[in-house]
């Protein structure tokens, strides 16, 4: 089980010394279905520093979206804790969560799903302010115009409805709504996955600008490695519900220690990358979450798995300050004495 201490200190961000704005510890989520219990998230721990972006990457079924939803309490965890600043929100009541939402907001992949089509953009952006009783009517109107400006939309956008905007513009509206209350943490679940590359660049630049002016922290969930690399200060790689590697973005990309991280980086073709993958493609599919492999969950697809990997789940170990891996045979680590 990874200890909090092992995952505590980010080393890349300038914000290291600051108290984390979000602390997730030993978080697990189970889904009960007709076919049985799915352990969608298993003992996940990390911290998020002020002004920092932590990227979460992994493939389908790795638990990254479950993690996003559990952190904002759209799902109830079965174990572990979530602390927002000094407040433990793991089991916070509806009323206390409403207060907590001032500091913790979310942006979804498809903003249309979260924007009521009958409302004007102005009403959508003013709603969070009204709920929290912020400002007079006139002040709220001014704040809406200010928010639209921050995300690069004209003030007239306030009178229009979400369907009148393109996908990229709707995502700007989703981001403006998430920022209305000046939260400390925004969880972004695949925010650019549905967008064309030229629009994706606009949104990524916008997020970067907003972070540097507002000092907000991002938990950025994505599946596109080049996007996650671009936005993140640190990155956690997930596989079948667990974090298998966590480190500073550069450290992780230059010295991936987990065989899964290496396979993932190798499988993602990049314009400036090598013409051919460095190693053989991973064979097989991700195992069913209903029937998780024993020991290390990656052993069924791992090119270097040994006997110990089938028996024992690897403990999170520290390779270098801030770079952690859960593998019995990490690259650059010491092999187990077993």
């Amino acid at each position: 089980m990874p200890s909090d201490a092992a995952l505590a200190a980010p080393t890349v961000s300038a914000a290291v010394a600051a108290t984390p704005v979000l602390r997730v510890s030993g978080l697990s989520v189970e889904y009960r279905t007709a076919r049985g219990v799915v352990h969608a998230l298993d003992d996940v721990s990390f911290e998020l520093a002020p002004g920092e972006t932590l990227g979460i990457v992994g493939e389908s079924g790795c638990g990254k979206s479950t993690l996003a939803r559990a952190v904002v309490r759209l799902l109830d965890p079965s174990a572990g804790t979530i602390r927002l600043g000094d407040t433990d929100i793991t089991h916070a009541s509806r009323r206390r969560m409403r207060a907590a939402r001032r500091d913790l907001q979310m942006v979804l992949q498809d903003p249309a799903a979260s924007l009521d089509p009958r409302w004007t953009v102005g009403d959508l952006l003013a709603e969070p302010l009204e709920i929290h009783g912020i400002g007079s009517r006139a002040e709220r109107r001014a704040r809406v115009a200010d928010l639209l400006g921050k995300v690069g939309l004209p003030p007239e956008a306030a009178q229009r409805r979400p369907h009148e905007f393109s996908g990229g513009q709707r995502q700007r509206i989703g981001i403006a709504r998430a920022l209305a209350l000046e939260p400390k943490v925004v969880v972004l679940d695949e925010p650019v996955s549905a967008l064309d590359v030229s629009v994706q660049a606009q949104i990524l630049n916008l997020l970067t600008d907003l972070q540097s002016t507002l000092g907000v922290s991002f938990l950025f969930i994505g599946h596109d490695l080049s996007v996650v690399e671009y936005v993140s200060d640190r990155v956690a790689v997930m596989y079948l519900g667990r974090i298998v590697e966590l480190g500073g973005r550069d450290s992780l990309w230059r010295r991936p220690a987990h065989p899964y991280t290496r396979a993932l980086l190798d499988a993602a073709p990049r314009i400036e990358g090598p013409a051919a993958p460095a190693g053989p493609a991973l064979t097989g599919d991700t195992p069913s979450p209903y029937d998780l492999p024993s020991g290390c969950r990656f052993h069924t697809r791992c090119p270097i798995a040994a006997g110990v990997c089938r028996r024992l789940a690897p403990v999170m170990q520290t390779l270098s300050p801030g770079h952690h891996v859960a593998c019995h045979f990490p690259v650059g680590g010491t092999p187990p004495s077993d």
């Binding site: 030229s198 671009y230 314009i271």
Partner: protein
């Protein structure tokens, strides 16, 4: 399998135009598109949503859904113009000489037939062989697309399979008639990156070993750079650039191509501690079909546009290993 003459394209598209009829008239979605592919070659057609790449793919098989229709041009497959064929003749060509795979295999697979039955059906549709022979060919095809335990998979229904396995089944079906051309429309877009790598290496292997020509429709420039020989970039229904892959990425000539490549996050774009390098943005949006500019469709978003660009559509011109359609192609380095 009819042998194709080496260096002679198996598929030659010339002046293809596709439009949508509505009450205001004909909206042009693809305009005067020409390209060709040789045996064993993989050509990518890239562009963003609405550029006409998927419509082009459908037109190659005579599958444009109404109210869309081909309004001009020819699609020659092994010398024969597919657009001149009637539906019965087209059906004989489809699957046998040209086949297509889609992003979502479930749209192409029959949910009430087992994997084996549908591949057998595809074989029996184009050949007169015994069921026993068709069954053996099916097992060989399943093995060919690296499906483990083919005997067991033969009897399974598509919904029991993972996304990657379904894509393999669809490829096996497409290969059943040993087609000369495989059209792949975003075949890995819905797949995880490690599964995508498996499917792309499979397609790559098939064209190398069987000489299948591949027309690969994608929005993913990373995939293009690793697997494709030649790239055709589309914008608002037209070809703006066509180059050998290496040349395209080393020295893109069209301002749109340059913008697209620059908008992609690069490795090490934000070195630790340093200020993150901004991604290049292409200002504005793609023009609507009903409001196409008279001249170059990219002119309203282009940093190099001048009066000429607003008036005249730039014709494709030879440029090194390919073609570029830009009045200012030689000047893009100044950007």
């Amino acid at each position: 399998m009819s042998p194709s003459v080496p260096n002679e394209p198996v598929l030659a598209v010339d002046g293809l135009s596709i439009g949508f009829q509505n009450r205001h008239g004909l909206l042009p979605a693809v305009r005067e598109l020409s390209f060709s592919v040789k045996s064993g070659e993989m050509l990518a057609i890239v562009g963003e949503s609405g550029c006409g790449k998927s419509l082009t793919a459908l037109a190659l098989l005579g599958l444009i859904p109404p109210p869309g229709r081909v309004t001009g041009g020819t699609v020659r497959l092994e010398g024969r113009d597919l657009l001149a064929l009637d539906e019965a003749a087209l059906r004989r060509v489809r699957g046998a000489r040209i086949a297509m795979i889609f992003q979502e295999p479930m749209t192409a697979l029959n949910p009430v037939l087992t994997v084996g039955e549908q591949i057998m059906e595809a074989i029996l549709e184009h050949e007169t062989v015994s069921r026993k022979a068709a069954r053996e060919r099916t097992l060989a095809l399943l093995e060919r697309v690296r499906i483990p335990d083919p005997e067991r998979r033969f009897a399974e229904y598509p919904h029991r399979l993972s996304g990657g396995m379904r894509q393999r089944v669809m490829i096996a079906m497409a290969l059943a008639g040993a087609p000369a051309v495989l059209v792949a429309d975003e075949p890995t877009t819905a797949l995880d990156v490690t599964i995508q790598a498996q499917i792309l290496s499979l397609i790559d292997e098939l064209r190398r070993e069987q000489g299948t020509a591949v027309v690969f429709i994608t929005h993913d420039l990373g995939v293009v750079s690793r697997y494709v020989d030649r790239v055709l970039v589309m914008y608002a229904g037209r070809k703006v650039e066509e180059r050998d892959t290496r040349d395209l990425f080393a020295d893109p000539l069209h301002p749109y191509t340059r913008g697209l490549i620059a908008a992609q996050p690069r490795a090490g774009a934000g070195a630790a501690g340093a200020v993150r390098e901004r991604l290049a943005e292409i200002p504005g949006t793609v023009p609507a079909l009903a409001a196409m500019p008279a001249g170059c469709a990219f002119a309203p978003r282009c940093p190099l546009a001048d009066a000429r660009c607003a008036q005249a559509v730039p014709p494709p011109r030879r440029a090194g290993s390919g073609l570029v359609a830009c009045h200012h192609a030689g000047e893009t380095h100044a950007l």
